[in-house]
């Protein structure tokens, strides 16, 4: 399952999508909206995408994981308005062994953060701004 959604993300259904009887390890990553960024208090977040391209990229990343590590993966990215604490992205990876499950999960979020045409707009008490970090800027101050 590789998709964009406007509904709240639930982890449990993703676990059952990926898990096979031969798997001994399941890793997951949730990106969640936090209450501060760049020194400012954030009150909510809006996620916006170039939808067909973002959907294709997420599927491509999922296939990469499955080809490179022989894992089974699910990736869901949420769009629209999110409150503090809500998940913006979920990545779930099942594998016979844990090393591959951790490596693939980490790879997926790095690829999505670097490549997926998705933008967040941060809302503060007195305004809002699109977050459009320079590539590389996110390495010295990584967000979620």
């Amino acid at each position: 399952m590789f998709q964009l959604t406007r509904a709240p993300i639930e982890l449990a259904p993703l676990l059952s999508v990926v898990q096979r009887d031969s798997d001994g390890a399941i890793t997951s990553f949730l990106g969640v909206v936090r209450n501060h960024a760049r020194g400012r208090r954030v009150i909510r977040m809006e996620y916006h995408a170039y939808e067909p391209m973002a959907a294709a990229l997420i599927e491509q990343v999922g296939r990469e994981l499955e080809d490179r590590w022989s894992v089974k993966a699910a990736i869901v990215h949420r769009l629209g308005c999110l409150e503090i604490g809500e998940a913006s992205v979920a990545i779930v990876v099942a594998s016979p062994h844990r090393a591959e499950a951790f490596a693939a999960c980490r790879h997926a979020i790095e690829r999505i953060k670097a490549e997926a045409p998705i933008w967040k707009k941060e809302f503060y008490e007195d305004g809002s701004t699109w977050v459009e970090q320079e590539p590389g800027g996110s390495h010295s101050m990584p967000g979620g």
């Binding site: 990106g31 996620y47 916006h48 995408a49 170039y50 067909p52 391209m53 973002a54 294709a56 990215h77 913006s88 992205v89 979020i109 999505i112 953060k113 670097a114 490549e115 997926a116 045409p117 998705i118 933008w119 967040k120 707009k121 699109w130 977050v131 459009e132 970090q133 320079e134 590539p135 800027g137 967000g143 979620g144």
Partner: protein, 81 residues
């Protein structure tokens, strides 16, 4: 030929619309579209410089040649995840 250009995030705010069509002469490439946009929307010009081009939902280089009906976007630095 006619191509479709899509705008996202801050670019959309600057341009004031999410999509325009452009009529191009044959042999035009992505860099040519970027120049046209920079001329038409001066406030967009500096933003285009730190964007990545895509044609038909695939990232590509600025020398990519265009065909009738192509969908073009200049992707601002992304912040999903």
């Amino acid at each position: 030929m006619r191509v479709h250009v899509y705008f996202f995030a801050s670019h959309r705010d600057v341009v004031g619309t999410d999509q325009i069509d452009l009529d191009l002469s044959d042999g035009c490439n992505v860099a040519g579209v970027q120049s046209l946009l920079a001329e038409r929307y001066p406030r967009l010009a500096p933003l285009l410089g730190c964007s990545r081009a895509s044609v038909n939902e695939q990232y590509c280089g600025s020398d990519r040649l265009l065909a009738d009906g192509d969908r073009i976007a200049f992707i601002p630095p992304v912040s999903g995840g």
